[in-house]
Symmetry: C2
Subunit: 337 residues, 2 copies
């Protein structure tokens, strides 16, 4: 019993050059397509998340309204539900899973929309963090299909500092005694805990910890927050899936393809969709400075920062409703156009 | 053959409650005391550093002038030269080294100045990072002895976010296969590399990496910088010494003692010295916001931020001379008063 559907793409050539005999995309649909198929919102997943982790913002009084829109969450490749290191068969086990890029994600999602749902134009692509990376890939690679973009706490090309942050996470995880250089010989509890603790320092802001804002989310202490929210989240994940998604994130660059050949200005300039780019004022790895630089290269985009002490997690479910209201307002104004 | 001197304090009760039969302080003197013994500058060491790592800023045309001042660098406890886990004898080996606090550092340094050098008043205490923590401890615990303070990229009490950053470093290091829960059964190369990579993300700013500023320091790529500057630095250190100094840093709080009993406002208010507090505008763990809050509680202090893209390493030797000029100017104006 699952609460989602699966689209089997069959034998698929991935951007890394490997052909997998079967690629599958797990997705969930919230709400219904209208007769014109003009009300689809695509909402890709963020790092380490599955659809059930991010669908809290779908609701008639939340950011994405399933009464009016048909919202589709495609689970990103590597997240444990769609094709991932943890569910590949031989020979792609034990450290041999092919690398996924966002090109692979967008390509699989485009087939899902066209072949399964019969959708040619997307009313809105909405995404946070790695989900936001996918929205910008959509905009650059399929400008004729994407009408609107709302991208929060994200980037079109992963910045050098962001890459270093991710390399630090990867180094912490693969320091575990169970890492043999290619895979883990058992569940790397120690490595995942280090991974989680390092991550917790980056994902929120200094002010978040200075002002004990974790208390608003129901935690008793900073340690309670790190253990239950961060260690708890990552200990239940497959570590090879986590490494796979880190690589996708490090490599994320909307211009790294045959169309734009590394020209970020051209790739951002190709995005026709009306877009609102929403960095958090306190995000430590998707910085507001980077978003400002990228947004200035997009012809039809507005930079609308979220003023928040929640760092990269601005707008997330445990926050006060202020951040959510800012995003809700942005989505509403986009969809009204 | 050493280039420094050692002061043996004999049997010493540490603030953690343990009596060590011998405590020693390694120190180096640059320049000469004048007849009035009124020209002493005390310059404590920062995290992981020994005197030879930080004496580049001593020079007649640098920040601290040994022609006019007698500059003393006391190596902090735990740094491998002064008493440290790596040089304790039984029973203080194998994870049983007593914890050091800055109270222990200041107490040992005070005895050095009084008993060995015969100095009762200090013209200036200068320090960066953990060295800066010691300057503020000096100011609060010996207000009658400290005439001036220049503290860069530091805090009087380690902030919650800063603690989490340090816990992340500790977690990365102790994830190493050689960690048995109490000590390392061999040199933890994998753990030290993870430690270094995580640290490198925090110690510089996002802009430092965005703008390839490592190139100014002679590195060929970001990876070259991380491997040679960061892994290279930490792989040569004793890992138990690194853990010891992390604990000292986490616990650093000028009010955590019998005098101030946790009242930070009172402790900062007790500092009589004329002080200049110099956070870096881009420091990710000793934030300018924290420095501003603390400086506002000091009656005789000025907040003078260093505008730099070097993050926590503003003013360090590999930088362009701009940061150094700002600090040089601050020290000059302090000493002229």
């Amino acid at each position: 019993m699952t609460d989602y559907e699966t689209f089997d793409l069959g034998a698929t050539k991935l951007s890394c050059g490997v052909i997998v005999p079967s690629l599958h995309l797990a997705y969930k649909v919230y709400g219904q397509l209208n007769a014109e198929k003009s009300n689809l919102i695509l909402y890709p997943t963020s790092y380490g998340a599955q659809h059930s982790d991010i669908d809290w913002l779908i609701g008639s009084d939340r950011i994405l309204d399933p009464e009016r829109y048909c919202i589709v969450i495609p689970n990103q490749l590597g997240n444990g539900l769609s094709s991932s290191p943890s569910n590949f068969a031989l020979p792609f086990t034990h450290g041999r899973a092919p690398a996924f890029s966002h090109l692979d994600n967008i390509s699989a999602q485009e087939r899902l929309l066209r072949e399964v749902l019969g959708v040619e134009r997307i009313a809105l692509v909405y995404g946070w963090s790695m989900g936001g990376q996918q929205t910008l890939h959509w905009g650059a690679l399929h400008p004729e299909k994407v009408e609107r973009i709302c991208a929060t706490c994200t980037s079109a090309r992963t910045s050098p500092h962001n890459k270093l942050f991710l390399e630090g996470l990867r180094a912490a995880l693969t320091t575990d005694p169970a890492w043999n250089g290619e895979w883990f010989t058992q569940h790397p509890v120690r490595g995942l805990r280090a991974f989680a603790r390092v991550y917790a320092g980056w994902a929120l802001s200094q002010a978040f910890y200075r002002e004990d804002i974790w208390a608003e989310a129901g935690f008793a202490s900073r340690e309670d927050y790190v253990v239950r929210a961060w260690e708890g989240n990552f200990l239940r994940r497959d570590p090879m899936d986590l490494l796979s998604m880190i690589q996708t994130w490090i490599d994320s660059d909307i211009s790294s393809n045959d169309v734009f050949r590394g020209d970020l200005n051209a790739a951002l300039g190709a995005i026709k969709a009306r877009a609102i780019i929403m960095p958090s004022t306190t995000d430590l790895y998707f910085t507001i400075d980077d978003s400002e630089i990228e947004t200035s290269m997009m012809p039809n985009a507005e930079l609308r920062p979220i003023s928040s002490n929640w760092g990269h997690r601005a707008g997330n479910p445990q926050n006060s409703r202020e951040d959510e209201a800012a995003i809700q307002q942005a989505v509403k104004s986009l969809l009204a156009e």
